[in-house]
């Protein structure tokens, strides 16, 4: 299941629910992304823009892709949109499989996809102004591992 949330969410409650409903899974892998203050940059919040159709579609396609690539029992993706305060969760990805390798790798691939290939635009608000964030060369390199 994929959710784009305009309000903050509780990733731990969602993960608990996900884990409870995965049937015969022997492995659940998860990633929770949080908004960082970034030290001296003093980030107070992020603004997450998305595309009204393409964002959901592209994540659905990515989930279909990992379901075909690995033998998964379930996938959960929750991504914030709108204003996200420092310390709040921005993303939750959880994958369930019979064995750990499929769960780890599919979770990893989905996060790499979300960083560079899902139509989100991220602006950080700091004490000194606003900055649009673009993926790093490392983000693109991580994503290319799955091609």
């Amino acid at each position: 299941m994929i959710s784009l949330c305009a309000e903050t969410f509780d990733p731990y409650a969602l993960l608990k629910e996900f884990t409870k409903n995965t049937g015969d899974a022997g492995a659940v892998a998860s990633f929770i992304g949080l908004v960082r203050k970034e030290g001296a940059a003093d980030v107070s919040a992020l603004i997450l823009e998305h595309h009204p159709q393409l964002t959901q579609q592209s994540i659905e396609q990515a989930v279909d892709g990992v379901m075909q690539r690995w033998d998964l029992l379930d996938v959960r993706v929750v991504h914030r949109i709108g204003r996200v305060e420092t310390g709040e969760p921005i993303v939750l990805v959880a994958t369930a499989a019979a064995h750990r390798r499929a769960a780890f790798e599919s979770c990893d691939m989905l996060m790499d996809f979300l960083k560079t290939d899902a139509p989100f635009w991220k602006k950080e608000l700091t004490a000194s102004g606003e900055n649009w964030i673009e993926p790093s060369a490392e983000d693109y390199q991580n994503r290319s591992r799955w091609d």
């Binding site: 997450l48 823009e49 290939d117 991220k122 649009w132």
Partner: protein, 82 residues
Amino acid sequence: MAQLAFYGKLRDIMGCDMELELPANVKTLNALQDHLTQAYTGFGDVFSHTRTKVVLNDVLVHSDMPITDADRIEFLPPFSGG
């Protein structure tokens, strides 16, 4: 009038989405990008990025395409989620 939409950094540069009567010499996406680059300071700097994408009538396009005043064209700077 063509409907133009912008996201992320491009939205900040352009100020807002817009309706545009395409100039007579603007008959393709590439020509429209050239037109916007000349008309709006900063558009070309962002749009020259290789990871920028264009959506024509709800379809992501990867090459130059003919356009008319009936089209909806969206300009997407590099994605950054997670």
